[in-house]
């Protein structure tokens, strides 16, 4: 039973790490998008501002959704239970 629980926790941990990695990738894309938009704006071209803002908004919503999903994975995988925690010093918080 404990093994099953531990396996569930491990899968939850992998999912959470994957979600955080994906958020980091989205953030890098967003940083590039902002710098490119600013660059074109300073060059006198304002046409890119609208699609860039819309795309950036979608990326932010994606990050938010992943962040919220991460919370739900954590509660679903019972990663707050102290007695089964392994692999990190204070467990997942």
């Amino acid at each position: 039973m404990a093994n099953l629980e531990r396996s569930k926790q491990r899968r939850g941990l992998v999912a959470i790490n994957g979600a955080i990695t994906f958020i980091v990738i989205l953030l890098i894309i967003q940083i590039w998008l902002l710098s490119a938009t600013l660059e074109t704006f300073l060059a006198g071209h304002t046409g890119a501002a609208v699609p860039a803002a819309i795309f950036s908004g979608f990326v932010f919503l994606g990050c938010l959704a992943l962040s919220l999903r991460r919370e739900s994975i954590k509660s679903h995988a019972n990663l707050d239970k102290p007695e089964i925690k392994s692999g990190c010093r204070n467990g997942l918080r």
């Binding site: 980091v24 938009t37 609208v50």
Partner: protein, 168 residues
């Protein structure tokens, strides 16, 4: 009820300040994810700011301003002037007997003033060695990301007039 501390217990200062530096520096996944999401929100707000700047940007007006007389400067000579506002410094270059070009003097990298190098026939930024073509203002070398804005010139008799700015 013990009023005295036993010698085996933690020191008093550790009991009273029971916060460990290592614990304070420890960043949880939740904190990290929150930070990333907030950074993403910041990027989105930045994009909205650019959008607002683009939407509310005033259309620049370009008056017709006399910058000099034909033949006033020698071939491969320069004259400095300001256009379209007194804060926008520009450089007029006589490239041929009857050829004149003018550019904004502000480098597109970090806004240092560019100068004309007659020896190398190019505009040079002394700050980071950014070079621009004297023909069209395009970047020849260095970190500038864009060509120099070119000032549109018109000839009215013996007078040279600046009538607009051509962005890249």
């Amino acid at each position: 009820m013990s009023l005295l501390r036993s010698p085996s217990r933690e020191p008093l200062w550790r009991e009273e300040f029971s916060v460990f530096t290592s614990d304070e520096r420890y960043v949880t996944r939740r904190q990290f994810a929150k930070f990333l999401t907030l950074a993403s929100l910041g990027m989105f707000v930045g994009n909205l700011w650019v959008l607002a700047k683009a939407y509310f940007a005033k259309t620049p007006s370009f008056p017709s301003v006399e910058v000099g007389e034909v033949g006033e400067i020698p071939v491969r000579g320069i004259k400095l002037f300001t256009y379209p506002t007194p804060k926008d410094h520009c450089i007029l270059i006589r490239t041929g007997e009857d050829e004149y070009v003018a550019y904004s003097q502000k480098c597109t990298h970090l806004s240092c003033a560019v100068y004309f190098s007659a020896k190398d026939d190019r505009l040079e930024c002394p700050c980071h060695q950014g070079f621009f073509s004297v023909r069209d203002g395009s970047v020849l070398q260095g970190p500038p990301p864009r060509p120099l804005p070119q000032i549109t010139l018109e000839r009215n008799g013996a007078r040279l007039l600046a009538v607009g700015v051509k962005e890249s």
